[in-house]
Symmetry: C2
Subunit: 475 residues, 2 copies
């Protein structure tokens, strides 16, 4: 276990240098978010002009805090940060032997593209290194831990605990992910780390740490650059064998690489090399932001798939057709196969207008469907040996109560034995106009998407990971 | 002008054969939706067992209706439909010379893949044809007209009037689009036609008709198959020169073609040929459902673009980087170019941490941004000769009021002269957690998306259309 990371994520006392009384400033939001998430450790705002902020007693400087501080957050300009690190933080670390790490929120370092910024970052790292203090950042939002309730971000307050851990070079982007998911309660969070320029603690170290954190089920990564491909490859292989890692990495184009460099000072590196690294390590490379978002949440919610044969169960022929088309053009999936017995039983219970097995693995129940039939049809399909996973699609018929059919579908899904559970993904044609159905499905562990192409891409990524694990375990 | 279509869309009296008192039946929903949309013509429910439904007096059969009926909707099984057409509808058409068209909701025709179904469809068409009655369907939902308030669908009730017209072989899929958009008021509808098996009135005839309907600004098409590529090509060229047409057509794969055939009896045809047809006609082929949805709504809301140079204005470096990357890998777009004067002014007003012009056409305002700066920065960018369109991206800073910054952005956008207006598309990292911002942008005619890749794809399609129109007009 990585001791510094463990201490940082479980810090029992936090100082915020640059704490602000102004609700429009990040130095205020950080304190507010700590309160919102329910952090119970000690909090020391550092502000020479205020007596207290949000009920916490203020100190004029780090030097004045009379107790140990395990984590220090800096929200002051770069030159001031360096001065305080040198003149206050390092001396007090010698005295208390307390501080495990710092979070540097501000920019003004390598990402500026100037020699001055680069040298400033180098100096900062050297100073902290000499004192045995680890650095998160600079130019970042720091960490959230939903168990210890440590939260140094200025975007995200209270968050539901769950199995997703986030590693990121863009704090704002990843906080966006959390807020995006929060609106419809799509994921639960375990740990979050934003390290911006990644001058010290980096993606490899955190991945390795999270591989052994039992509460982390899936790892979400936004990476702009990393200069040691070999080290990444070695560690990623081991992590991937334990849990799925989904990475979005820009830098496929020159313009993208330039933008990344002006954002976090990252050197994107040859994209072909990175592509090869991801392939060899079983890491799932997302090619778009929504692929990253939606794949992650499926891995959190669903059991791992154990094959590539997908059945398509639809209420709407148009959505069903598009789904079959996407499966046929996917990388790893193929249509499931139904036994004659299953087809016979399905034809027996469904309306005469229904289509069963044309093409194989496909059922269009049509709008002439009842709540109960959602349950019965899905049970038959899940029981088939030739089926590894199911995509269910619907435009919720106006004459069925929105919640009821969803509950019936979920009952069939959750009637499977836990150790042999096959994943089911839903596509809801009405989007947010079918909010009741959506909510009922999500609450019952069936992820619901708006578009068939997303459901298929997510399933494809799940099978990609299954194939890697099979191979890794066989080797 | 196509007289039969015009009469059907403006029918002053409608009979529903198979009208039902049971709210769970389509034969009831159709009547309910007519009431909801506010249809003011005459309505005749045909039901031998009921006296009245939803306040409309019932008739035992079509023959008993003493007045002209301009449109007849059939919601009864296929064999019954044929019988009534032959024994009641055709005789009364001879007497009243009234009925312009029928909507056949039910299936049981060509889409069954049986000889019986195919012959039934042929016979139906012959019968109607001989009586001069046009056929919409079978196996469809019929039409909506937001001006005349005719509505024969069983999924969509009242709908806001606007510039999108929908042509579709999947009624349920396209009603899904309308309901999906309705949840956040994303589009306004002009006309809707779902013709399922498309036995008579077809995609070409309707496209040609809509090209001259002044209230239709953009045409949305879901097509599973069409057997006269040459005719399609000729008409589509003319339509495309007048207004944008966006088409989603499955059939790229064998499995997709089979599913389409079991849905609407369509023969998908060689996909390469279709791809060539779309290219030659300037029709925008969408490769996924969400591309179809989001491209359509951008064309409705925004002015046409007049060049391919896109400026990227961001508050979040991660989103900005991903957007630049997508532009660099797009088909038609390239990054805009800023004048020295614009860069100087931007650096002057933005925070020192901001990035301007690295890469060219890119501005990262960073989280240190105010409401007003949204306005000022966008004005400077829109005034640049080297900019044809703008993508604005943000993770709304927690310390800015959600509505205010969006209003400031919209002010800058709407300060442009109408005849030289450049399109602006927004990406909101927080998704539905930033609902206030989203709403303020959409209300002020800036479409707001959740993901940068979608915004770029939409912009790419707008430029594709611009290039076609330029060429078509130049030739």
């Amino acid at each position: 276990m990585n001791e510094s990371l463990d201490k940082i994520f479980n810090a029992k006392s936090i100082a915020v240098v640059g704490a602000s009384t102004d609700p429009k400033k990040p130095g205020h939001e950080i304190l507010k978010n700590m309160v919102d998430i329910g952090y119970e450790g000690k909090v020391f705002p550092i502000n020479p002009k205020a007596d207290q902020i949000l009920g916490f007693k203020c100190y004029k400087s780090l030097s004045e805090v009379p107790e140990p501080i395990e984590l220090v957050v800096f929200v002051v300009p770069a030159p001031v940060t360096l001065k305080i690190v040198e003149e206050e933080l390092i001396p007090r670390k010698k005295k208390f032997n307390d501080t495990a790490g710092v979070v540097m929120v501000g920019g003004g370092f390598k990402e500026t593209g100037t020699k001055e910024g680069e040298e400033r970052e180098k100096r900062l790292k050297e100073l902290l290194n000499s004192a045995g203090i680890r650095l998160i950042g600079p130019n970042c939002q720091g960490i959230i831990d939903t168990t210890s309730k440590v939260n140094t971000t200025f975007d995200v307050g209270d968050y539901r605990k769950g199995g997703v851990s986030v590693i990121t070079q863009s704090g704002a982007l990843s906080c966006s992910f959390l807020m995006w998911a929060k609106a419809h309660d799509l994921i639960g969070l375990d740990k979050f780390i934003s390290f911006g320029n990644m001058a010290d603690i980096d993606v490899v170290e955190v991945m390795e740490y999270l591989a052994d954190v039992p509460t982390t089920k899936v790892i979400w990564v936004y990476l702009e650059g990393y200069n040691d491909g070999k080290k990444f490859l070695e560690v990623a292989k081991k992590v991937s064998a334990k849990k799925p890692v989904i990475v979005l990495k820009p830098g496929r184009t020159q313009a993208g690489a330039t933008a990344a460099s002006s954002h976090t000072g990252a050197m994107a590196g040859e994209d072909q090399i990175w592509d090869a690294v991801f392939k060899q390590t079983g890491i799932i490379r997302a090619y778009s932001l929504q692929e990253l978002y939606h794949t992650t949440r499926a891995f959190e919610k669903l059991p791992l798939i154990r094959g590539n044969r997908i059945a398509v169960l639809t209420v709407c022929g148009g959505l069903g057709t598009l789904c079959v088309e996407e499966i046929a053009s996917s990388r790893y999936l193929r249509m499931a196969s139904f036994s004659e017995e299953a087809k016979r039983r399905l034809r027996e219970i469904l309306a005469p207008t229904a289509t069963v097995g044309r093409p194989d693995g496909y059922i269009d129940m049509t709008g002439s469907v009842t709540e109960k039939l959602h349950n019965e049809a899905l049970r038959i399909v899940l029981n088939e040996d030739g089926v590894d996973g199911v995509i269910f699609l619907t435009t919720p018929p106006a004459f069925l109560p929105q919640r009821e059919w969803a509950i019936e579908l979920a009952k069939a899904y959750n009637s499977q034995p836990e150790d042999r559970k096959k994943p089911v993904i839903a596509v809801l044609g009405f989007g947010d106009s079918a909010m009741e159905s959506k909510k009922a499905l999500e609450e019952n562990s069936i992820p619901a998407y708006d578009f068939p192409e997303i459901a298929v891409r997510v399933m494809d990524n799940m099978v990609k990971y299954y194939l890697y694990r099979e191979k890794a375990q066989g080797a």
